[in-house]
């Protein structure tokens, strides 16, 4: 039996006019990387802020390590690391001073590991934080979330503001943490990112959980937006027999469509004509919701 690290039950928060969350049930197990996926404003940050006990739920509860996260907040947070989505650091301190301070507040923190992380992320710790770029501040935010090797790390949109090389380094760090048995919960609005690093994913839309799936299951249902520009006229019925294809628009020399699963049939059908351009892009979350979760995803 896998060990539960986070469990939410019927978690609801009503902000009045602004959308909160309603009835969020979630289970995150020890040693997994759990992606919390949803468009901006779906309620990801609200859920995280309840987990961190920054705000309280109107109803429902959060248990972390089997303890109520509201009643035993300080005790629970001892074993947690956290990176807020909107990161604000003490600007008057240097990175080193800030991390030193946080080590003291935690009562632990491993300085050689901090130095290692700083050099991996090419992050200067001696400069005052107010002189650092947005990306460098995010790096310090990441270091403070990982530095004490906590059992659970909660990250709110962690790759925002990181350049691709640093994102790669961050994914490596996630892998190492997972290998060390740490549990990671991270929110994102970026599907490819979640597919790349997560074991399971919970999908939230308009304040409601619409699905919790293994990433491997999600991948089999990958959807793609494809646009093909032809160099000659094509017949209207050319693509009508292809499975899982949804034609968005088709004129004599241009096809716009969405395809689920394999591309094989589409490519073979298209290859009979002269192709000028082939554009394929990952769908954004909104399109995935429409394609897979339909009205269920359209809460409210």
């Amino acid at each position: 039996m896998e060990k539960l690290v986070i469990k939410t039950e019927g978690l609801s928060k009503n902000y009045g006019r602004r959308l909160g969350i309603s009835d969020v049930d979630m289970e995150v197990f020890a040693g997994e990387i759990f992606g919390y996926l949803g468009p901006n404003g779906a309620g990801k940050t609200t859920t995280i802020r309840i987990m961190m006990d920054f705000i309280s739920a109107d109803s429902g509860k959060v248990e972390i390590f089997g303890r109520n996260a509201h009643q035993h907040g300080a005790e629970v947070r001892r074993r947690m690391g956290f990176l807020p989505g909107e990161l604000n650091l003490y600007e008057n301190l240097s990175g080193r001073e800030l991390l030193l301070y946080f080590c003291h507040l935690r009562g632990n923190g491993q300085w050689p590991f901090i130095e290692e992380l700083a050099s991996r992320f090419q992050c200067s710790l001696s400069q005052p934080i107010h002189t650092l770029s947005h990306g460098n501040k995010r790096k310090i935010g990441l270091i403070q979330a990982f530095m004490h090797k906590p059992d659970l790390i909660i990250l709110d949109e962690p790759t925002n503001g990181l350049d691709p090389i640093m994102q790669h380094e961050f994914y490596r760090l996630l892998g190492e943490a997972k290998a060390a048995g740490q549990t990671i919960f991270f929110s994102s609005h970026n599907l490819p990112e979640v597919e790349r690093v997560c074991d399971r994913v919970g999908i939230i839309r308009a304040g409601k959980m619409v699905a919790t799936e293994r990433v491997s299951a999600l991948k089999t249902r990958t959807m793609r937006n494809v646009e093909i520009h032809f160099g000659e006229d094509i017949g209207a019925e050319t693509f009508s027999a292809i499975e899982n294809l949804r034609i968005l628009s088709l004129d004599k020399r241009r096809l716009k469509c969405q395809i689920k699963g394999e591309l094989d049939q589409l490519l073979k059908a298209a290859a009979r004509f002269k192709i000028n351009d082939f554009i394929s892009r990952e769908p954004d979350l909104e399109e995935i919701f429409l394609a897979y979760y339909g009205d269920e995803g359209h809460a409210q």
């Binding site: 940050t45 956290f82 807020p84 604000n88 003291h104 507040l105």
Partner: protein, 270 residues
């Protein structure tokens, strides 16, 4: 290293963050003390001025805080700085720190990361308050040292114990406004609301206390003004009235508990 050593706790960090303002305020208070002691003998010699002041109608004299003792150093200091300047400075410092302690940090967004640590919210309020109280106490101490020390520099005889008593009373007044603005900040999460209400309360209650001796209808309300408990007894001349100290202490305790209560239930703004 010394300054880095202060990053070992929330208390230390809070105090460390104030080193600049504490230094500035200390220099200012010392300069003010020495300036007042320096000008007093000239004021004394300018007997004409004192006569004019002493012959003002009682209404005006009360308003400027003169109580017929102007000719003595205690009387002079009671008027200046202890009638308005010193309490004003302590209150400004106190409200600035009290409104910033939690509400300012919430507005800057740094409170999230602080509270992500294994700290109880009550402990956050306690350690921050302790650090700000310590800073205010340092200011009081600097003020006392500069005034008491200044009397050695200038030929002015003054009771240093009574001086300590009135400055202690000033410190308590500052603590009252600190805890009050802290509590409002913990409740609202807004620095401006905290500053506005606390500052407005200070002005209104100051005016009530200042006018009460002359305005019949205000007289019963004087007991609602913290300024009455601060120096209603003319501490520099008569010493501390312990019932007044007790009232201030109770108010401080009340607002501190209110701050603890409010912050424990505060929904942090994102």
């Amino acid at each position: 290293m010394g300054m880095k050593g202060m990053l070992n706790s929330l208390f230390g960090k809070t105090l460390r963050d104030q080193r600049g303002s504490l230094l500035g305020w200390s220099i200012g208070l010392t300069a003010l003390s020495l300036y007042l002691l320096y000008v007093y003998p000239f004021m004394n010699r300018a007997g004409e001025l004192l006569k004019v002041l002493d012959n003002l109608p009682p209404v005006i004299k009360n308003l400027i805080g003169s109580n017929n003792f102007l000719a003595s150093p205690e009387g002079f200091l009671n008027l200046q700085p202890f009638s308005i300047l010193a309490p004003l400075l302590f209150i400004v410092f106190a409200i600035a720190k009290g409104s910033d302690a939690t509400a300012g940090e919430e507005e800057r967004g740094t409170l999230d990361l602080l509270l992500a640590h294994p700290l109880r919210r009550g402990k956050v309020v306690m350690e921050k308050s302790a650090a700000h109280a310590a800073a205010l106490f340092v200011l009081a101490l600097v003020f006392w040292i500069s005034l008491a020390g200044g009397t050695r520099l200038f030929p002015i005889a003054i009771d240093c114990l009574r001086l300590a008593e009135v400055i202690f009373s000033c410190f308590l007044l500052g603590m009252l406004f600190f805890t009050m603005s802290l509590a409002i900040g913990c409740l609202s999460g807004k620095k401006k609301i905290s500053m506005g209400i606390s500052g407005g309360f200070a002005v209104v209650t100051y005016l009530i206390n200042a006018y009460a001796p002359m305005v019949e209808v205000l007289r019963p309300y004087r007991v609602f003004s913290p300024f009455y408990y601060y120096n209603g007894n003319t501490v520099l001349i008569n010493g501390l009235d312990f019932s007044h100290v007790l009232v201030l202490a109770c108010l401080i305790a009340f607002f501190f508990l209110a701050a603890l209560y409010a912050f424990a239930r505060r929904e942090l703004a994102s």
